[in-house]
């Protein structure tokens, strides 16, 4: 699929922002993609209903990260903090979007984060979000896990800004999603990056055919690449491969037989690069 066709498919880009450093990296990536696709950018900030509920407990105490002291919290206080965060991210988004001359909008909704994002993503063509948000620990946050598995559209998760000039890796298989994944290279390829195609096939013969197919498409689009056959797709192994090759973006077919949900989650948890799930 050519870039022009891709532009038709990607007209509305949803970016989830919660003011965490990772969500700001997601915003940066969304701005870049929206510029490339000439698409509309929609920012969404979800006021987590769970946080608002917490203030209803008489025993609820907030422990500060900086000064480990405990303070009482109440609903108006939490609401005010969330509003302030929303205003801040809206300000950042508007500045960046206007600098890039993009059409943009921003909305704040209240509810469960995953549910609200899923609902919002229905009207858009791709959602871009930070891998962990404010969650601590190494693993992807619960919202990311839900979106990876349940999002109806393309989803990009990342934990830092997309590194330009670094290799783009794409998993290709014999399925419509596989073909979509291959053509999604146009979304992120900047003409200087190496492209590495990971062939997902059980048999060598199938892998060879897939490689030829992919090669033909890539050559048609002026992209040179090298190929790796993965007879067995294992999340951790794939993640290790992205690290050793200093991968910038990994493009995966989301509904692949070779990449069940657990594998995808493993991959998301263990990779450092941006992951674009194509559906």
């Amino acid at each position: 699929m050519s870039l022009a066709n891709q532009k038709k498919l990607i007209q509305r880009i949803l970016v989830a922002v919660d003011a965490s450093p990772q969500s700001l990296a997601a915003l940066e990536a969304a701005i870049e993609l929206a510029s490339k696709m000439e698409a509309e950018l929609i920012g969404i900030f979800v006021e987590d209903i769970n946080l608002l509920r917490v203030s209803g407990f008489p025993f609820a105490r907030e422990v500060s990260y900086i000064t480990p002291t405990k303070r009482e919290i109440d609903s108006p206080h939490i609401e005010m903090q969330l509003r302030a965060q929303a205003r801040r991210v809206e300000h950042i988004l508007s500045n960046m979007a206007e600098q890039a001359h993009l059409r943009w909008s921003f909305r704040t909704v209240r509810g469960h984060i995953s549910a609200e994002l899923l609902a919002a993503s229905l009207d858009t063509d791709i959602i871009i979000m930070g891998k962990k948000g404010w969650s601590s620990g190494k693993q992807a946050g619960s919202t990311t896990r839900v979106m990876v598995v349940k999002s109806p559209h393309q989803t990009m998760v990342l934990e830092r800004s997309v590194r330009h000039g670094y290799p783009v890796m794409v998993a290709y298989e014999n399925s419509p999603a596989g073909k979509k994944a291959l053509s999604a290279i146009n979304l992120v390829w900047d003409k200087t990056s190496l492209v590495c195609v990971l062939i997902l096939a059980d048999e060598a013969e199938e892998a060879r055919e897939l490689r030829l197919e992919a090669q033909a498409w890539l050559e048609e689009n002026g992209i040179s690449a090298h190929f790796n056959w993965l007879p067995e797709a294992d999340g951790e192994k794939l993640a290790r491969q992205t690290r050793t090759q200093s991968c910038g973006v990994l493009i995966l077919p989301a509904d692949s037989e070779h990449l069940p949900s657990d594998t995808l989650l493993d991959l998301v948890n263990n990779s450092e690069c941006a992951i674009l799930l194509v559906r």
Binding site: L51, F57, F59, V63, Y65, P68, T69, I78, L82
Partner: protein
């Protein structure tokens, strides 16, 4: 008494004979490289340059245009060629006290090399350290440390999350912290539902939350300690990696400068600093690693403060002699404090003024150190603080760079105290004589610091040998100024004008600038006249044009005389009235003009009233001259009787001050005329001073005075009786205008040289002065006799009580 004869025309002008020159034009002459007519100055400069002791700096004094600068420069440059080339000096960063940069010296030419070596070292350090810190080994070790921290932190949080989950709680992130909340079906339990739980269950939950909060607080308190620990270990790792890289790179430069302990010491400090601040090197590469990314922020922050980090390893080569042959000779035309001593400049960074050792700028003392410095004395005295700074440097034999603004607390910003640099220099000040004597009188340090006086004369002898050299000088100046050559008649005319400038037929001016100006102007007129060689006529025209341009005031004066606004008679006779002569100096031009002097006498008590003095228009020398007259009168005519005379003397129509004693001869003559009641010829004018014995003494400006009176007489009509009486000692000064000489030649005008007042009064009155006989009396029909009789009569009357009537007016 012998009758005074007027001077022949040949005595009025000392011609320079063009036929003595064996050239047609100055184009045939070689250039003149020596200074002429300054033997004393040449000997003094020779001594001053040669002597090496402290304080033997030079003050070249004399009129402007005497060739002070060129003589001093020439001797300095000659000596400098044989002197050793002094050291290069550079300032480097002081790693212990950054506000006190260190000075390092190196043999001439090696400063550039050292600077290049350090630049290369920094470049190599940058690439080597970047490579080292981007190596897989370093990354792996660094990541391991960071991973260790992250895992430790994540594990702590995971543990507490597990503990929370085990009791039905979850850890939630709020915008400003974390909270624990009871969960149900993967979300926070609605509070109202929680309230419906049994009391025991609620209490248990609350207790669990409290325990977990406490535990979380403990973990959060521990995190900074873990971070510090990790940072420390990362720093140790960085030191290990950078120490190895730096050590090998520095070894070469160590070996190269092994003979320079100061550089060895500096390189040790550099090594230590590089290891401690390795991030600065990585920061200049574009965020290639996490190390660099972190350092980039640091660098930006430091740049904002005006401290681009790698600037501190630069070498500020203050004095570079790599292309200097011998010692330097520096002329400083604008001796401001900072041009002389050097300065520490500042840069504006984010609204603040910042500086570092790279912004230390050298002054002339730095550049001339080990050599010679030439300064204009007046200019350095006019520049605030420069004179004091020069003296301080010469006294301490060190150059301390100090900021005036900071010295005076005009600005309060970060500044430096650069290490002083030892000073070994010979300074020559150029100035006029008055300045030299003022400094010698008023500045006690001056005589200690400028012991060699190079005194330039304003004049030189006018003899054939000098005239030949003068011709050569004219040729040289013509060539240097791209002028046409001068023919020998023009040269002779220039030499004659030179004598006229100093008002002495036996001398020539040493103020070559005036001569150079005349040459340029003559060249202009030659071009106007279409001459390829400058002729006598062109020089003449240049002189006349110079006079005409400056002649407006003289014309007004003379016009006023001719229109009888100022009363001057050039015919007839008057008792007690005489034409005196004065010179008016306006800028570079001076001219003479006659002034009427009158004397009135009456009986009195010996007072001689100088009316100018009474109204404070008389200068001290003029007043002295008038008092001398009283001395003369008393001694000659009233030695044994009271001087019962009251006389008044005045310069008529004088509205400004009168100074000088050149009118005293005229005043005495007027006084004698008034006492003796003998009229004075108004066709004559008198100049000259007189002493108590009545002897005529030389005065200045004799040419201008004669010409001034001649011009008036000429305009009123030359009768053949007109002339000027001058002291005979002024004959040598005569260099009169051609039209005066022509008039004298045809006896239309006369110059009378006299030895004493008696000769003068005889010419003025036509009556003999009279000589004292053996009885102490003068013959009755002489001036002196009449004066004696009149004074005796007055003395006698004054003895009669009540006799106070005024004597008949004269």
């Amino acid at each position: 008494m012998t009758k005074v004869q007027p001077l022949p025309s040949s005595a009025l002008y000392q011609r320079c004979n063009p036929d003595q020159f064996n050239f047609q034009s100055t184009a045939e002459l070689e250039n003149l490289f020596e200074i002429i007519g300054q033997p004393r100055a040449i000997e003094a400069i020779s001594f001053g340059v040669g002597i090496k002791h402290e304080g033997f700096n030079i003050f070249a004094l004399g009129p402007s245009g005497a060739g002070k600068r060129s003589l001093v420069s020439r001797y300095f440059e000659q000596q400098a060629k044989t002197d050793a080339t002094p050291s290069d000096w550079c300032y480097v960063h002081n790693f212990e006290q950054s506000h006190k940069p260190r000075a390092i010296n190196l043999p001439a030419g090696r400063g550039v090399e050292f600077r290049r070596d350090m630049e290369q070292l920094v470049d190599e350090l940058r690439s080597t350290l970047t490579a080292a810190f981007e190596s897989d080994e370093y990354r792996a070790r660094r990541q391991l440390l960071e991973e260790e921290f992250r895992e430790k932190q994540a594990k702590a949080f995971e543990e507490i999350q597990h503990k929370a989950a085990a009791v039905g709680l979850s850890l939630l992130r709020t915008p400003s912290g974390v909270v624990f909340a009871p969960m149900k079906d993967g979300e926070v339990m609605p509070p109202e539902e929680f309230q419906k739980l049994p009391k025991e269950e609620r209490q248990l939950t609350e207790k669990n939350v409290e325990v977990l909060q406490e535990e979380l607080s403990n973990i959060l308190q521990t995190i900074p300690t873990w971070q510090r620990e990790i940072r420390k270990r990362v720093t140790e790792l960085n030191k290990e990696i950078s120490g190895y890289a730096v050590g090998s790179l520095l070894e070469d430069i160590y070996q190269k400068y092994v003979d320079f302990p100061a550089i060895q010491e500096y390189l040790q400090a550099v090594k230590k600093d590089v290891i401690e601040n390795v991030k600065d090197f990585l920061a200049t590469e574009e965020g290639q690693s996490e190390e660099a990314e972190g350092a980039l922020d640091a660098m930006l922050a430091r740049t904002r403060r005006g401290q681009a980090p790698l600037r501190r390893y630069k070498i500020n080569l203050l004095v570079d002699h790599h292309d200097t042959q011998g010692a330097p000779v520096i002329h400083l035309d604008n001796p401001t404090h900072q041009n002389l001593i050097g300065s520490v400049e500042h840069m504006a960074e984010m609204g603040a003024l910042v500086t570092d050792f790279n912004l230390i700028k050298p002054g002339a003392l730095h550049k001339a150190n080990g050599g010679y410095l030439i300064l204009d004395a007046r200019k350095i005295l006019q520049q605030p603080f420069s004179w004091e700074a020069l003296k301080r440097a010469l006294q301490s034999r060190e150059i301390h760079i100090e900021s005036i603004a900071q010295m005076l607390s005009l600005i309060t910003t970060v500044s430096l105290e650069p290490e002083p640099i030892p000073l070994n220099i010979k300074v020559a000040l150029l100035g006029d004589r008055q300045l030299y004597y003022l400094l010698a009188a008023l500045d006690p340090d001056f005589s200690e610091l400028f012991k060699v006086q190079v005194d330039f004369d304003e004049i030189m002898p006018n003899n054939p040998e000098i005239q030949h050299l003068y011709a050569q000088l004219i040729g040289t100046l013509a060539r240097k100024n791209n002028l046409r050559p001068f023919d020998r008649y023009a040269v002779a005319k220039v030499i004659e004008h030179s004598a006229r400038l100093v008002g002495d037929s036996e001398k020539l001016t040493a103020q070559i600038n005036d001569i150079a100006d005349l040459l340029r102007e003559a060249d202009y007129w030659a071009s106007q006249n279409g001459n390829h060689t400058i002729t006598e006529g062109d020089v003449h025209k240049a002189i006349d044009a110079q006079i005409y341009r400056a002649d407006r005031v003289r014309e007004r004066f003379h016009e006023n005389i001719l229109r009888k606004t100022i009363l001057i008679d050039t015919t007839g006779t008057r008792v007690g009235q005489i034409n005196g002569l004065s010179v008016i100096q306006l800028g570079n031009n001076s001219f003479g003009t006659p002034s009427r002097i009158t004397a009135r006498v009456r009986m009195g008590k010996g007072e001689l009233v100088n009316i100018e003095r009474e109204v404070e228009l008389s200068g001290p020398i003029h007043s002295k001259g008038v008092l001398i007259l009283a001395g003369f009168l008393g001694a000659r005519y009233a030695a044994e009787q009271p001087l019962s005379l009251s006389a008044s003397l005045v310069f008529e129509q004088s509205y400004s001050g009168v100074e000088g004693d050149s009118a005293s001869l005229a005043e005495l003559s007027a006084l004698l005329s008034a006492i003796a009641e003998v009229p004075i010829k108004q066709s004559l004018a008198v100049t000259g001073s007189v002493n108590q014995h009545g002897e005529a003494q030389a005065i200045g400006g004799v040419n201008e005075k004669i010409e001034g009176f001649f011009d008036i007489c000429k305009k009123q009509g030359l009768t053949g009786n007109q002339g000027v009486i001058i002291p005979s000692s002024n004959i040598k000064n005569l260099m009169l205008r051609q039209d005066v000489i022509e008039a004298v030649k045809v006896s239309k005008f006369h110059i009378f040289p006299i030895e004493n007042v008696d000769q003068g009064i005889e010419i003025l009155t036509g009556m003999p002065a009279g000589e004292l006989d053996e009885n102490g009396n003068y013959p009755s029909e002489t001036i002196n006799g009449r004066v004696q009789v009149r004074l005796a009569r007055l003395a006698k009357k004054s003895k009669v009580p009540g006799s106070s009537e005024e004597e008949p007016k004269t």
